[in-house]
């Protein structure tokens, strides 16, 4: 159904390169995935992959501080980066004739970042990231939910036990030596995927990529992920935590381990979550929000993860006077109901997922990011084009079996938030 063109190349230093031509608009997306995320952080270094991402914008051998932003914005482009459990991505989208600028900037920091690092820059970005943590976690109602849920779903020995943002203490303790070690270990061409999508000439683009990235020496193979990466796909029990906090409404979070993103069962888990709680015809919305009117809102989502297990997340927000036990009980009833899934509701979930994917890839930047992802995770960027077929192949039986296997009381983390001062 999809027909996103993609040509693969590999430079001698191991950099994987994908080119996807689309000349409908004179813009080009440059997207770089590094195979490093919070899962690669050692004990005492939580949050470092993300802090390092900030340092990547602090200049490199030929690019002074702030110049990276100035050059891309001055060229009429947008840029950003993000750090996640399994990867870190850097991206810019800009007028097509400025492709070379983006390649130069990305290659300068991939090859020659360290000469520009100073203690002052590190200290500045430590403050910025501490503020980011305060803004998103500490000064935000329910802001620390993901940190708590991760620690409940994954054992201390597993790399997903800690959050991507990391602890204040670890953020503050990072040193320039950590920056240099991390750079030499993970920011090497053989640990990266570069995707260019949009209005480009493939042979010209490849030549530019080779010119700017070709001379960056390869690094050693990246070290194994610390800790215990193999885990059972069930927690083994129901883990509970209750938080009394400055929140306006009571809320129940429930999370479970489900198959990792590269498992054949992943799409089944994804459709299970969609049937359960995506859209206004979904079970949770229909029952808890519309009919019983005990929930103000519901959410259901699978975080696609690579290392051992993915994470399925549900939440139900109650009205001010809601009993937390009633909310949890209602959620469990709907989960148990997944023992029987109708073909029509599965068809709805599939149709919504298809439209969603098409809407996503309207953005050239998202297209590039997905190609990088499929390359990194599956060694096959063109897999994007058959994604819809895999979603369509999910059956009722699979969804029912997955529900039985992964949503029982032997695989739940239940985190409840209760407004401070409520009886």
């Amino acid at each position: 159904m999809l027909n996103v063109p993609v040509a693969r190349h590999r430079l001698e230093n191991g950099l994987r390169v994908n080119l996807s031509v689309d000349r409908s608009t004179p813009v080009v997306a440059v997207n770089l995935w590094y195979g490093v995320g919070s899962r690669n952080e050692n004990p005492g270094k939580t949050g470092f992959a993300h802090l390092f991402e900030h340092m990547m914008f602090q200049g490199s051998a030929n690019v002074p501080k702030n110049r990276h932003f100035e050059l891309v914005e001055g060229a009429g482009g947008t840029l950003n980066a993000s750090t996640w459990f399994d990867r870190t991505n850097y991206y810019e989208t800009l007028p097509a004739h400025n492709l070379e600028l983006a390649l130069w900037l990305e290659s300068d920091r991939m090859g020659w970042m360290l000469p520009a690092m100073t203690a002052e820059k590190l200290q500045n970005q430590q403050e910025v990231v501490k503020n980011e943590r305060k803004e998103r976690y500490d000064n935000q109602p329910y802001g620390d939910w993901d940190e708590r849920i991760q620690a409940m779903v994954f054992p201390e020995s597993h790399p997903y036990h800690h959050s991507v943002i990391g602890s204040m203490e670890d953020i503050g303790a990072a040193t320039l030596e950590d920056v240099a070690d991390f750079f030499r270990t993970f920011y090497v061409p053989n640990n990266a995927v570069l995707t260019l999508a949009g209005d480009l000439d493939p042979s010209e683009a490849l030549e530019l990529v080779d010119r700017y990235f070709g001379e960056i020496p390869p690094g050693a193979p990246v070290p194994p992920i610390p800790g215990q990466t193999e885990i059972p796909l069930q927690i083994g029990e129901t883990v509970r935590a209750e938080v009394e906090a400055e929140v306006p409404l009571p809320r129940v979070y429930m999370a479970s381990r489900v198959p990792p993103v590269d498992s054949d069962l992943f799409h089944g888990a994804d459709m299970m979550a969609t049937v359960l709680g995506s859209g206004k015809a979904s079970r949770l919305y229909r029952s808890l929000v519309r009919e019983r009117r005990i929930a103000k809102d519901v959410l259901s989502y699978v975080f696609p993860l690579q290392t051992g297990a993915s994470l399925l997340l549900l939440w139900v927000t109650g009205y001010p006077d809601a009993e937390i036990d009633t909310l949890e009980k209602a959620l469990v009833e709907e989960i148990e109901g997944l023992g029987s899934v109708s073909q029509s509701e599965l068809d709805r979930a599939v149709a919504m997922t298809e439209t969603h994917l098409l809407r996503e890839i309207q953005h050239v930047g998202n297209r590039a990011d997905l190609l990088s992802m499929f390359d990194q995770v599956f060694d096959d960027p063109a897999r994007l084009n058959s994604e819809v077929e895999r979603v369509r192949a999910v059956t009722r039986n699979q969804v029912q079996d997955l529900a039985g296997e992964h949503l029982g009381d032997d695989n739940r983390a239940v985190l409840t938030y209760i407004p401070k001062g409520s009886p």
Binding site: T25, P26, V27, N66, F69, E70, E73, G74, A75, G76, T78, L79, T93, P95, H97, Q123, N124, Q125, Q126, E127, V128, K130, N131, E132, K134, E135, D138, N139, Q140, P141, E246, V247, P248, L249, G279, K280, A281, Y285, R286, V289, R290, R293, K296, T317, Y319, P320, S344, D347, R348, A351, M352, T353, E354, T355, H356, L358, R359, Q362, H363, G365
Partner: protein, 439 residues
């Protein structure tokens, strides 16, 4: 540099007064269909605040022939969904679907919009949800700061002084028939638009629209008029007290400019220099130089009347006063001294370069076309947008910012720990500092 062309738009007037616009984007088999109704929350008096938002969301309650769940199933069977957005100046009701499901999608859109059921239990349920959402906003420091700055910038006679979705009192007072009444008076074809963008043929769309919307009639109630007066002309600082808060949410604002302002383009450049991009003065100073914040931005809310100009950031409690001082000095410095020629040219290139990136999806393009209808902008507006941006020079930026902004009248709202931040804020000498409780 290859030129970027805004998608070709065909305009078809229909007998009932609806303007039909069809834009072609054929890269992917998708279509977005939007009905845009002029007059959003700003046509309502304070006691009715939130009713337009509630009415829009109550369309999901079902139609004359389908219950709410049946309507949701019908949309989701074709991989779509009803998306309703009510702002100050308009309500848009939209669906996006695969192009080969457009007939069904438009039939459902028309049914939801023209034959809503507004069953009382559903209206009541949505009202409860809205009330709970208001409660959530009040405990979220960022939303509380947004709502507070709006209140302290605009006079009580201006609807913009209140939260868009209303207050506990106004929403609590909404009766079972109110949504239907608003719908009868305002969801009318005169002055409304139907915007269809995607992999479609204009002729085909026209006949679909004629068959599903041909019977839509009636005229809109007149909008109420108001003048966007400020609450005060005195600079002042309000501290909304949250004892123990680890951060302060800061908003600095005043009455800005309307969408029809002759200064529209120069103000966009001004804002890019001040706080509209990564390399803006505010970001470079408060984030990259001082590490006070994760981010700081400024923006003009261009509405049918002058909307707010607001600077927003969140900073650690202990640097609250210095952060306010720095932000104030940046805005004052830029209004008084003007930008540098490099900043102007950098901002022109930025805004004209990112323009195509804001028009990648059928939904984005449809929303832009709706804006033309809501604000009575010329059909050529987007075709000439980049030329207009490129035509802005240093003098026009300076002139525009001086005509619109009065730095000595800026109002500061800080949601944070009053005990810790009050005295340092007083020491700034920017005006009276008042500590108030969140209401």
């Amino acid at each position: 540099m290859r030129p970027f062309e805004f998608p070709e738009v065909t305009s078809v007037p229909l007998p009932n007064g609806v303007g039909l616009r069809v834009g072609r984007m054929t890269q992917l088999p998708l279509v977005t269909m939007t009905v845009v109704l002029k007059g959003g929350e700003s046509v309502l008096a304070d006691p009715q605040a939130g009713l337009a938002v509630l009415t829009g969301s109550a369309l999901e309650g079902g139609t004359k022939s389908r219950s709410g769940p049946e309507l949701a199933e019908a949309f989701e069977n074709i991989g779509s969904g009803l998306s309703v957005h009510t702002g100050w100046d308009s309500t848009t009701v939209s669906v996006t679907s695969l192009a080969d499901r457009k007939d069904e999608a438009m039939a459902l859109l028309a049914e939801a919009l023209l034959k809503p059921g507004f069953p009382p239990p559903e209206v009541d349920r949505l009202k409860s949800q809205r009330l709970a959402a208001i409660q959530q906003r009040r405990m979220d420091p960022g939303s509380l700061a947004d709502d507070s700055i709006a209140h302290f910038v605009f006079a009580d006679s201006v609807p913009y002084h209140r939260p868009l979705a209303g207050t506990p009192d106004s929403v609590g007072a909404i009766g079972p028939e109110a949504a239907r009444d608003l719908w009868s008076g305002r969801y009318r074809p005169e002055g409304a638009g139907i915007v269809v963008v995607g992999d479609v043929e204009p002729g085909e769309v026209e006949s679909l629209v004629r068959s599903f919307f041909g019977g839509w009639d009636g005229t809109q109630h007149a909008a109420r008029s108001f003048s966007p007066e400020p609450r005060t002309r005195e600079g002042r600082i309000l501290v909304v007290d949250r004892p123990g808060a680890v951060q302060s949410e800061i908003r600095i604002g005043q009455v800005g400019a309307p969408r029809s302002s002759p200064h529209y383009f120069p103000l966009q450049i001004f804002n890019t220099v001040l706080g509209g991009a990564f390399t803006s003065r505010l970001m470079l100073n408060l984030r990259e130089e001082r590490g006070y914040t994760y981010g700081i931005r400024s923006r003009f809310g261009f509405r049918s009347k002058a909307g707010p100009f607001v600077i927003s950031t969140a900073v650690a409690t202990e640097v609250t006063a210095p952060a306010v001082r720095e932000a104030m000095s940046e805005v004052r410095g830029l209004v008084e001294g003007g930008p540098t020629p490099e900043e102007v040219s950098q901002s022109r290139d930025f805004l004209s370069g990112i323009f195509p990136l804001q028009l990648e999806t059928t939904g984005q393009v449809a929303a832009r076309i709706c804006e033309l209808l809501v604000y009575d902008l010329p059909a050529q507006f987007y075709a000439t947008y980049r030329d207009e941006i490129r035509g802005v020079d240093l003098d026009t930026v300076r002139e525009a910012s001086r005509a619109v902004l009065r730095p000595e009248e800026l109002v500061v709202v800080v949601v944070g720990d009053g005990k810790e931040i009050r005295d340092p804020l007083v020491d700034l000498g920017l005006g009276p500092v008042e500590v108030i409780s969140p209401t």
